[in-house]
């Protein structure tokens, strides 16, 4: 599937296409879309990772 021509593909299909294409042939707009999507909630998000209280219970 060619992501440059098909707007309806899924994220995993997009990534599969990005993986196969030579770096120099990846459309910038698609790369930007993927990056923006991946970072959609996380540019300023905090609390993503929890700390296990190993010291007291593990």
């Amino acid at each position: 599937m060619n992501i440059a021509e098909n707007q309806q593909v899924s994220m995993t299909e997009w990534l599969s296409e990005l993986r196969r294409r030579p770096l120099g042939e990846i459309p910038v707009a698609r790369a930007v879309d993927v990056t923006r999507t991946v970072l959609r909630h996380r540019d300023d998000a905090e609390g993503g990772v929890e700390v296990a209280r190993f010291g007291s219970v593990a």
């Binding site: 299909e13 990534l15 990005l18 970072l39 190993f54 219970v57």
Partner: protein, 782 residues
């Protein structure tokens, strides 16, 4: 649903403003410290003395240790902090770093008017890793309106000189951004253009402090002049392609999508910030000084009261309550989740305190409604995000959710991560000036001619960490993308190819990701030229030339080096093969605990024993996941030891397949690696599939933390604890009933089950998230 902010509870405080000097060398007539209602500065010592600094550092470190805060920010503030002078400043920084850094990752920042910024100061800030924000209100006419010396002279030339220092390559990384106070009498476009011209990494546009008792200036006949002013800036900024982040606009964009505001100015994020005055008194956020004399006072002191005691104060707790802490009018407003009632101080009215909308209510509402309309016509994020799990390979979501991640699942995630890194490189390269793309051009060529070498290099976890940082700095820091040349050079070395590249050196070190680092005799910072040929490199830099030659495999032989030294990345035995022991890459220090410096030979040998033993433990205690760990884990980053001996481990969100661990025994290290690897797996899954909807106002209580946590944090913690539960179940199966492993298994099982219940009842999970957590909960009872 539990929420944070109940009075009487001690809440973690992660941000501290230290008033290290209570006077200022400017006499800005809009300053809330000297010109507004509160006049407490008159009775304060001029300087925070060494005894007070030590007491503050002790209180912060004690609180960070108690609440296991991974990250603490300390902002040096005033008055004008540079009035301290470099010697006193060094003493302050040394005490803060020495006491807090061993306990928590310490972000040191300073907010200054920039007038006294000098090279000695910048060298000091570089040494102590202090990021500096500068206050500037725009072009000279705008800045001169308020920001003058006491004799009326302009401060504009001195401030621009200070900013110029921060823009030089040696100090660029210290530049935190510009803080501009809006005045609607200034031309918004002239202000914007002037601020853009100095290329700040971030811009803050602040509304001038005002309350219902002391309302904002409004030109006659204009209902929302501040919204109009900001919208004019937004229009130009958007037309320019958003060359730098503007926090207010980014916050509103984020909250419009249900995300965090990351700011106390808008949104419903908790405000976990306290101030320490020069005499050591604890105060609330100092913008309250605009409301009335003594408004920020707490009556508590660093010499007599802990941070926990400060955080229990009702007025501090109120700032953690989100929607519940707002006025009745705000709570029913359609834009409340974006506005959040505005800045707390701006809600003050003499008759009823802070139980009001903001004095800027009309402006904020107009701004939010207008921006929402603009966002509606902007191109949306076009990559579809799976909320049902249907785009994933069959059974993948269920296997991962149940803690049965296998090698194939990890490989699928790793391939997705590699594709994402490639996308990020394309974006970074596209934002790089054409004249500075030699690294990118080499990488593109190598990707065609030696794709395996490029792939292996891009799989290095900290390439993506760099790319995310570089992406944020595009348009403001032309050096941000220079690391692309280092990535290309590393790929060329792997491929045995010929390239010549302009490469960045920092403090005499050139780092080649995944391979190692060249150190030259002088602490050179700036551009150098690297010529890579099969079996040899030549690095021409400001202090001379360094030659590295090796026979065949770089890792198999010690290279011959003249004019410098080579430090190779080292690998340690793990999982029947070897794993990268990453103690060189500068981007590895993105974990919430500080990365350790390169250990000596005996410590490295100890690490080797520990990792080998940890793998044996993982094989024994997680038999169904060991293959996934073997297939997926690429790097271990040693972290600085906890001074109290508490175990310490970390996962960095952008560094897939790498875990940070402080040195411990093999059994504990196995638990930490398994725990962190779960975070890495779930993080990669979340890149592909939404398991929850962003809900900043939702906080859930979990057994393993005292403070209510956001949904993603709870999901990550629950998932990691699923594996820890399984490890203790396996360990318990080998010991007599009632032993410590049984107790720990029961503890983790209960915590995990309760947290899964809280997630399922939160209303924040997507269909895929609901399925994920149900599978997770079911897996707790094998």
């Amino acid at each position: 649903m539990p929420t944070s902010g109940s009075p009487g509870t001690a809440w973690p405080i992660s941000q501290y403003v230290l008033k290290v000097h209570s006077r200022c060398d400017l006499a800005c007539d809009h300053c809330y410290v000297y010109e507004h209602a509160d006049q407490s500065w008159r009775g304060r010592p001029m300087v925070m003395d060494a005894r007070t600094v030590a007491a503050v550092a002790e209180r912060i470190a004690e609180h960070a240790a108690t609440h296991r805060l991974r990250r603490v920010s300390v902002v040096l503030h005033g008055g004008e902090p540079l009035l301290l002078g470099p010697d006193r400043m060094r003493q302050v920084l040394a005490v803060l770093r020495r006491r807090i850094t061993p306990v928590s990752h310490l972000d040191l920042l300073m907010q200054s008017n920039g007038v006294r910024l000098s090279e000695p100061y910048c060298d000091l800030f570089a040494e102590y890793d202090v990021r500096v924000g500068i206050s500037l209100d725009g072009d000279r006419a705008a800045n001169d309106r308020h920001r003058r010396f006491a004799n009326g002279a302009s401060s504009h030339p001195q401030v621009l000189r200070g900013i110029g220092l921060l823009r030089t390559p040696a100090y660029r990384r210290l530049f935190a951004g510009i803080l501009c106070t809006v005045d609607v009498r200034n031309d918004p476009i002239a202000v914007y253009e002037a601020l853009r011209a100095v290329r700040p990494p971030r811009l803050d546009l602040l509304l001038p402090h005002a309350t219902w008792a002391n309302p904002p200036y409004r030109p006659a006949g204009r209902a929302t002049p501040y919204a109009d002013w900001l919208l004019a800036v937004h229009e130009r900024w958007t037309a320019d392609g958003r060359p730098m982040p503007i926090r207010l606009f980014d916050s509103l964009r984020s909250t419009a999508a249900g995300g965090h505001s990351g700011s106390e100015w808008v949104g419903l994020d908790p405000a976990d910030l306290v101030v320490v005055e020069t005499d050591g008194t604890w105060e609330q956020v100092d913008s309250l000084k605009t409301a009335y004399d003594g408004a920020a006072a707490t009556g508590l002191s660093v010499f007599t009261h802990t941070v926990d005691e400060v955080s229990r104060l009702p007025e501090i707790a109120l700032r953690q309550t989100g929607l519940a802490g707002l006025s009745a009018q705000c709570r029913t407003c359609p834009v409340v989740t974006q506005c959040g009632g505005g800045l707390f101080a701006h809600r003050y009215r003499e008759s009823n305190g802070f139980d009001n909308p903001s004095a800027y209510c009309a402006d904020l509402k107009e701004l939010i409604v207008s921006l929402s309309a603009r966002h509606d016509v902007e191109p949306p994020v076009t990559a579809p995000v799976d909320q049902d799990g249907t785009d994933l390979p069959d059974g993948l979501l269920d296997r991962i959710a149940a803690g049965r991640t296998d090698a194939d699942a990890v490989r699928f995630l790793a391939e997705s991560q590699l594709a994402i890194t490639r996308a990020m490189l394309v974006e970074v390269a596209d934002g790089t000036p054409v004249t500075e793309r030699t690294g990118w051009e080499a990488l593109v060529r190598l990707d065609r001619e030696a794709p395996d070498a490029v792939e292996e290099t891009l799989r290095h976890p900290y390439v993506r960490v760099w790319a995310v940082d570089a992406r944020r700095q595009l348009g403001t820091d032309s050096a941000a993308a220079a690391q692309l040349s280092c990535v290309a050079a590393a790929a060329a070395v792997r491929a045995g190819a010929n390239v010549e590249l302009d490469v960045p050196m920092r403090a005499g070190v050139l780092h080649l990701p995944s391979l190692g680092a060249v150190t030259v005799p002088e602490p050179v910072t700036g551009a150098a030229v690297l010529t890579v040929e099969p079996g040899r490199w030549r690095l021409r830099h400001a202090a001379g030339t360094t030659l590295v030659s090796f026979d065949g495999d770089l890792h198999a032989t010690a290279p011959q080096v003249t004019g410098g030294r080579w430090q190779a990345n080292r690998r340690l035995a793990f999982a029947g093969t070897t794993i990268l022991f990453e103690d060189l890459d500068p981007h590895r220090d993105c974990h919430d605990w500080k990365a350790a410096e390169r250990p000596d030979a005996s410590t490295l040998a100890r690490w080797g024993e520990v990792l080998a033993g940890a793998w044996s433990s993982i094989e024994a205690d997680l038999p169904h996941q060991a293959a996934a760990v073997r297939a997926g884990l690429r790097a271990v980053v040693p972290l600085v030891d906890d001074p109290t001996g508490t175990l310490r481990s970390s996962t960095a969100r952008q560094a897939f397949a790498s875990v940070g661990v402080a040195l411990a025994d093999a059994s504990a290290t196995a638990v930490m690696i398994a725990h962190e690897f779960q975070h890495s797996v779930l993080g990669a899954l979340l890149d592909l599939c939404d398991l929850f909807a962003p809900s900043p106002a939702v906080r859930l209580t979990v057994g393993w933390r005292s403070d209510p946590r956001p949904v993603e944090g709870v999901l990550q913690g629950t998932y990691a604890h699923l594996t820890i539960t399984e490890m203790w179940r396996q360990r318990a199966s080998r010991e007599a009933p009632g032993g410590p492993a049984h107790q720990r298994h029961e503890q983790f099982r209960t915590w995990t089950a309760d947290a899964a219940d809280a997630l399922l009842g939160s209303g924040a999970l997507t269909p895929a998230g609901n399925r994920f957590v149900r599978r997770l909960a079911a897996a707790l009872t094998p």
